[in-house]
Symmetry: C3
Subunit: 325 residues, 3 copies
Amino acid sequence: MSNPFFINSGPFNISEILKILKLKLKIDLNTSVKDIKDLFHADKNCITFFHSKKYSEIAKKTKASYCITNQNLKDYLPKSCIAIIVKNVLISTSLVTEKFYPNSIEDEYDATAVNIRDTTLKDIVNAGKNVLVGDNVKIGKNCLIGHNSIIERNVQIGDNCKIGSNTILRNSIIKDNVTILDNCVIGKKGFGFFPSQNKNLRYPHIGIVIINENSEIGCGSTIDRGSLSNTEIGKNTFLDNQIHIAHNVKIGENTIIAGQVGIAGSSIIGNNVKIGGQAGISGHIKVGNNVEIGGGSGVIKDIPDNVKVMGYPAKSIREFLKDNR
Amino acid sequence: MSNPFFINSGPFNISEILKILKLKLKIDLNTSVKDIKDLFHADKNCITFFHSKKYSEIAKKTKASYCITNQNLKDYLPKSCIAIIVKNVLISTSLVTEKFYPNSIEDEYDATAVNIRDTTLKDIVNAGKNVLVGDNVKIGKNCLIGHNSIIERNVQIGDNCKIGSNTILRNSIIKDNVTILDNCVIGKKGFGFFPSQNKNLRYPHIGIVIINENSEIGCGSTIDRGSLSNTEIGKNTFLDNQIHIAHNVKIGENTIIAGQVGIAGSSIIGNNVKIGGQAGISGHIKVGNNVEIGGGSGVIKDIPDNVKVMGYPAKSIREFLKDNR
Amino acid sequence: MSNPFFINSGPFNISEILKILKLKLKIDLNTSVKDIKDLFHADKNCITFFHSKKYSEIAKKTKASYCITNQNLKDYLPKSCIAIIVKNVLISTSLVTEKFYPNSIEDEYDATAVNIRDTTLKDIVNAGKNVLVGDNVKIGKNCLIGHNSIIERNVQIGDNCKIGSNTILRNSIIKDNVTILDNCVIGKKGFGFFPSQNKNLRYPHIGIVIINENSEIGCGSTIDRGSLSNTEIGKNTFLDNQIHIAHNVKIGENTIIAGQVGIAGSSIIGNNVKIGGQAGISGHIKVGNNVEIGGGSGVIKDIPDNVKVMGYPAKSIREFLKDNR
């Protein structure tokens, strides 16, 4: 899926990229680099990054022409890929991403937004008072948008969607038959940055939020967009009120998440999962299909398919009940 | 209390109701059914539902003329009540409720809402900028409503109430001297539906929210309306910020609930209860009077009167402290 | 720092103050009392209060001319300070504070707020649609304010700040380079009151919120102002979404707090602290510098510097992992 939200300022000459990284390499400096992508999605003339041995299998097969990495990892890369050795892979990746996507660091309000009544969308959308829409917003048939909601530029909304009041949509693609209730903020940048004394270094978020068909998002929920990948909510997945979904999270289909649950960055939740109220899922966790997570649980490691867990840290529900008789 | 929010589309002939349920019964098909109510509130010519043995004592005395139930439960019903045997009592009840109250499934924004300055309420209410009020809203003496708040149709607000900014009130009755702070959403439908692959089946929420005298609701809180019964907050009960109260919950008087607490559907909280921050109460739980629940607790079973609990799962605070020395 | 938000209605004759407390004392009734302050900040002609032995060292040195206290504590006070003995120190303090600061009990919406386009700030600030600003708001250079946000009277915002959409700022001082995202409520009164049957007694909140340079506050967060002291967020401290910071809390510099964390009233968090998602900190807790608190933890006692904790109640992370192998 092409990303209509963050415009690539490239291509750049590799010499320009090495300049940002304050590096000098004995390579052909006149080659053009067209984009930055992850190891899997990068193709020829792209630059990628490789910061953890966990990704060595994907690294071996990357089609990228350049890869930001470190001394220990460089030998996993294929010969077609030139290693760019740096001290801190993620900070360097951040700097290069910012070069390609300068508008992805900060979330400034959409200055192109105007009252929907002053746009051609007024004839298509059943909208409340003071609804603002930005440039190039696309909205399908038979949609409702409540009062005071803000649909920022380039957002796409499918058919038969219901957006509540006081809700903000940004950098998001909403498929058909989706309901988003009041006071939500969907698509802001994630809570990702490099901690640094006096001034933390924010990193770019060029991912978007995709909410698939028939899903519902409760009041006061926040869904952050991804950094390099997307945040995605599967089909027919229902979220209750005051839920927080961090950047890069992927949630499967037919999943049900009760109120005040939080899912930290980059975690993956399967299909047909049930998560009880106030449960928390740590970052970079994988929760399988058909899993049930009891209310209040704290999930700090992967959960295989078809398992019921509860507790903090979460364990099998049988064990939890036995321990707490 | 009559319900000004959801208009009964009935009466319907019992044959029309059997048609929705795809049933054929050998009964008089020309009888008129005026409403759907719970076992206790239903009277003659009403239809009710009975799905759990837990309610058998009430079922024995119901005055309803018809009852949606199953084979195992039907014999508890009095002779005056015709059993309508179905596979899934709750789904069937949902379909029949939707027939009577077609507008109770979805929460569409209130298209009747206009700026309060364009209504006669402007002379009665001290209102901020961009305040929207729907048809037939009633507001008492000496009330304030902050900027950008939305009071949807038929909402009733008593005397001396203070409503914050960016707050949405819907399907709610607010008694005298109530304070509701900013960014709240009060009265949306609950998170209740029948899970189903590809398309969950939402069930009707014809209950309302009642907030009684002298109570206060903190910023960013959500209080969902009930499905068949109401969600109710007792007199002089104070809720802090970012609290979530699910559908059908009843909270007593003089109760104090700290920030980020969540109370799941249909739980009942007594009078003079204190609940610490971030505690969670599971659904269908009964918490007695004068109970203290420590911050962060997870309450998964009933708590009798006059008890102090803490922990996850919550146990007596003495035991909790002993176990965690 | 002077407090531009709550105007002192004093000075009052000490006889007027004794009248509120329904007390008769054999002291010079014609002396003027200029303000109410805490034991440390009070100077000559001020009244202060002293309710716990914990503060006896500060009490011994207070410069206040009068002190609301009880029989057991009065002997700690210096001779220059006249003890005013009451049954309930905090309730009496509340009544006297209300006398000096009558507008600090309730948070009424700012009726002075008008569209920023109708003010001289329009030439200085890059503001979205429907932005409201109250009287005497000060905003520095190069700031952005998103749609529908409300900046209430006397709020001060430094240079290079970014305020999101649908956000409310009240009784707050925002320093340079601060980012506050969407749907926040900053500076409302804290959840502090004296519980009482039928009608809780709210106490005054004359503290403010101070957010220092380079900090960031995530979407849907609430930061309450202090009662007698301020609520303060240190420099370069980042808060994620849906965080609740209660009244009087002080958070240090370079601290990172993940989503849905709650910090109860009067707690103090050090510098370079990391707090994982959904963790809760009880009230009146002191968390040292360089502390790491795992996600979901419940902190119910002080944590010294340089310690990693996790669990509910929080303990050393080593112990937590050992107990949960």
